[in-house]
Symmetry: C3
Subunit: 393 residues, 3 copies
């Protein structure tokens, strides 16, 4: 990348990186259409007459990833996809994941688990240590599926509802024995404008009865059940990752402003639970405010970094406006494509180095303080939050 070298880039490049929120990678060869669909949050193909490559993320792939795969920088989409096909999925995955130079991964295992690798395999491909993050809604849906598999049709009685609620806790506790935290997609399933309070048992039972009476899809989108799951995690003093803001087109973005969580955050200050707000675009300043005033709130601008591409240094700079430096995390939110881990990591390194370079050049920050803030954001904050440190000494 031209001009990517600045006074801080080398320092940042040398630091280990803790990607606290990503998904698995796809291990099979992709068609052009499949590839395009994975460099967009839309559920539909690009508009007629346009291509997904004509976008910030598309440009990043063609300019940054192409050389890693032996193609020419800024080659055509066709040339890029040809290079990809010639190497095969496994080699592409290995090259790009290695090039991302990630040390620790927090892997959300709750989405499309059948299509992508699990944490262990991802860690192996990336040369990193991978830790699971348990998606609450998927876990609950899995429990319901199992119950139905055992008894079909499953009568949606209060007894079965109570059984369902009881059966949630064992697998949750079992997985939390190794996982580093939980994830909720309340934003997708309902919005962030749910009530903050722990729901009453009767409400939860009634909601579970309703949920169990659904047809086979078993999509958990009831706000009472979502709250119940969140409070299970709060009671366990977990780090709770929350999808915030921008994402797939089934989100109602105006109901995903993190400020809607204010009452929940106020209520949970003294519980031991902590919250990691994910992505947060375009609510970056709002997330920074919450991380400033609530001591148990952390956030990242992952996903937004990849999709704003050349403008990601500005997004990263905004994340440093109000938030204490000890509360900002790094993630790629990569899913499926190894390109997304690599681009996400490189853009974060570059954007962070640019901001620090600005601080030094314009505000006189000494080297040691630039380094300290970089260490916090690249690894230390996540290590402290999750109680995990995989760095070699």
């Amino acid at each position: 990348m031209p001009r990517s070298t600045n006074s801080q880039r080398e320092m940042v490049d040398g630091l280990p990186l803790f990607d606290h929120h990503c998904h698995g990678v796809i291990e099979y060869d992709l068609s052009a259409a499949e590839f395009e669909s994975l460099i967009s949050e839309s559920s539909r193909p690009a508009a007629p007459g346009t291509t997904r490559f004509d976008s910030q993320i598309g440009v990043q792939v063609l300019s940054q990833c192409a050389p890693v795969l032996g193609a020419e920088r800024f080659c055509s989409p066709t040339a890029y996809l040809d290079a990809r096909a010639a190497l095969g999925a496994d080699e592409v995955d290995r090259r790009l994941l290695k090039a991302a130079r990630l040390t620790t991964l927090g892997v959300d295992t709750g989405h499309a688990a059948g299509l992508i690798t699990g944490p262990e395999r991802l860690g192996e491909l990336a040369g990193a240590t991978a830790h699971e993050v348990v998606r609450l809604e998927s876990l609950a849906e899995g429990v319901a599926h199992t119950m139905r598999a055992e008894e079909n049709p499953l009568p949606p009685s209060r007894d079965n509802a109570a059984l369902f609620l009881q059966k949630l806790e064992d697998p949750l506790d079992m997985r939390l024995a190794r996982a580093i935290g939980v994830k909720s997609i309340a934003a997708y399933r309902y919005g962030l404008d749910f009530l903050a309070a722990r729901p009453a048992t009767d409400e939860v039972i009634a909601a579970a009865v309703e949920f169990l009476s659904q047809p086979a899809t078993m999509r958990l989108d009831d706000p009472v059940l979502i709250r119940h799951l969140l409070w299970l995690a709060i009671d366990r003093k977990q780090v709770i990752q929350l999808h915030i803001g921008y994402g797939d087109d089934d989100v109602d973005l105006h109901r995903c402003n993190p400020l809607l969580l204010t009452e929940l955050l106020r209520t949970t200050r003294d519980t031991g639970a902590r919250f990691a707000l994910l992505h947060c675009y375009p609510f970056v300043r709002e997330a920074g405010y919450l991380a400033d005033v609530y001591e148990h709130v952390y956030f990242d601008v992952g996903l937004a970094i990849n999709y704003t591409g050349s403008h990601s240094p500005r997004v990263i700079a905004e994340s440093l406006e109000l938030a204490p430096f000890g509360k900002i995390l790094f993630s790629t939110d990569a899913f499926g494509l190894p390109e997304l881990y690599f681009v996400g990591a490189q853009l974060f390194r570059r954007g962070l180095a640019e901001v620090l370079d600005y601080y030094q050049r314009e505000w006189g920050w000494p080297d040691h303080y630039c380094r300290k803030v970089a260490e916090l954001m690249c690894y230390d904050n996540a290590a402290r939050l999750y109680g995990v440190d995989d760095r070699k000494n």
Copy 2:
């Protein structure tokens, strides 16, 4: 303009420009007070002790337009208005409209049509090809006025309501035979928080009865009628321009966030209709998100460009954060003053060139790709969307 030359400015300057949303120009001489009122979205004079010239748009007029009229760059407001008066409205219109170098115009004919030129005359003055954009609310109000002119008082009966609704469709179809799309000011008349669904016939009739019972002003602000008009346009697979965000002071800006349209956009994906979100300030990032995830959504940051002036390069840069490059349009939203077409076009050219120069300088974009993105935003996207191409070969 100092420093306006950069590696991309000459290239951008050479491209044809499709201003997909503007209004007519005033052809009579203006008083100082009239001129000031036209460089602001406020319905009131400037605060005591201040002048509208002390603003971003004021500075643009005094610095950019003055030399076109033979006045000194950064002259005083008085000197500027004197130069304007000495030349006369016709010469001022011609000079500034020509200097804007616009190739194609989409002209909203629904606001203050008596004060300003129609599309044909505007095209003539500007040396451009002008196409009409039909404002839905004005068309409906016109039909009601005609009915009342024929029978006064007009009994607000269900029969008259049905007649009114039926009489809407003929002139709409007739004008759409030549027009390139429609425009709705739902944002002004109600807000964007209307229901998405097509309204039931009975609801529409009842709303029409109510509307026809109004006194002479016949201001169409009923959300059911607004939805009816929008669905007429959706059924006709039109490009629907929607006012979004910032504008005159009769807007409730917090009800003009384009995210409030999410359900309407979701519902209309497969109808053939497309949406062009206009202005979008300060909801630029939100508009970019919608253009990214919804294949039938396009947007511009016109109006905001003029009124943010020296800061418009930042607003233009933000419009390129998330949105695919094939979904971003150009407009001036100019009304009345020829200055607004000229400044709007010049600021867009400069801001776009600056962003592209940044991409090349900092991210290595090759010339051909800078040119491609510029062509998309200056003309190709609008030509593809509206099915209109007036470029000479």
Copy 3:
């Protein structure tokens, strides 16, 4: 500060500054924990493993204030606090307040009055002329406390309510004889989504009965009473300062968007009252819009300047996007620490100079116009708005 010199810095540095909204300073020696709590809007200590010094404001203190106290630029927090302790509160206050070079102060006397200096003493320490700004909610709470002190328990009757409402007006008028305006913290006590209309007498009486029946804390958070207080100020054609946006963690930030005031602003255009929106982060663009379209609206980005530190030039630039230059004010919102006046003033000078330097370098603004805009924002706008001018000729 490195690079702080630019073509406009010297000019801006030479201008008097009108800090239209600040609080008193603390005159006693502070513990480390007290100091940390005063460089944050949070009501809690920093998260475990972090310090409030690792933040934008922390860096400003260590880099800008340290030399004023004889410590090394970018010293450690401990070294800074040691230097502070060695000098003693009085000397620290004097040095930093003098270094802020403020000419006129508008002092909100309604918060924690027992801990901090009053206006007169603050003015003395700062070498500035200080004027009171009367906080409406505190005044009303004070009246209620006095009534209860005279008769305890105070029967919450309609008679006492009427008496309470009547007793508000005398001290208000008395203090307004000298004060330059009022302040309301409706944002903290309720949110900005209150009804715009003047409340009916019966409603107000009922709300006052309820308020007087409260236990000893007497926290005025009823929206009807808040509106009553605002309308008392509107009737008196006051400048009404309103807390907007970011602040302590008892604010619901999503209910503090200034756009929620739209109806109130529309309703009060012709009353003679004027509104000064304070802070406005992250709603800077929204505030600029309101200042543009409503002739009686002014705003500042104080508080946000201190807390965004190295990024404050961007925040200041955003405040100049849409707003007329004659409507933008300066404040520090400093409370307690003399550091906050000094840093707030220095950051504003620097950010303003940077924006003006950009205008000159990139857009050709002549020196005289840069100076004019600087004078407006530093002093003239506030002087015109408040009818106060303390500049020596």
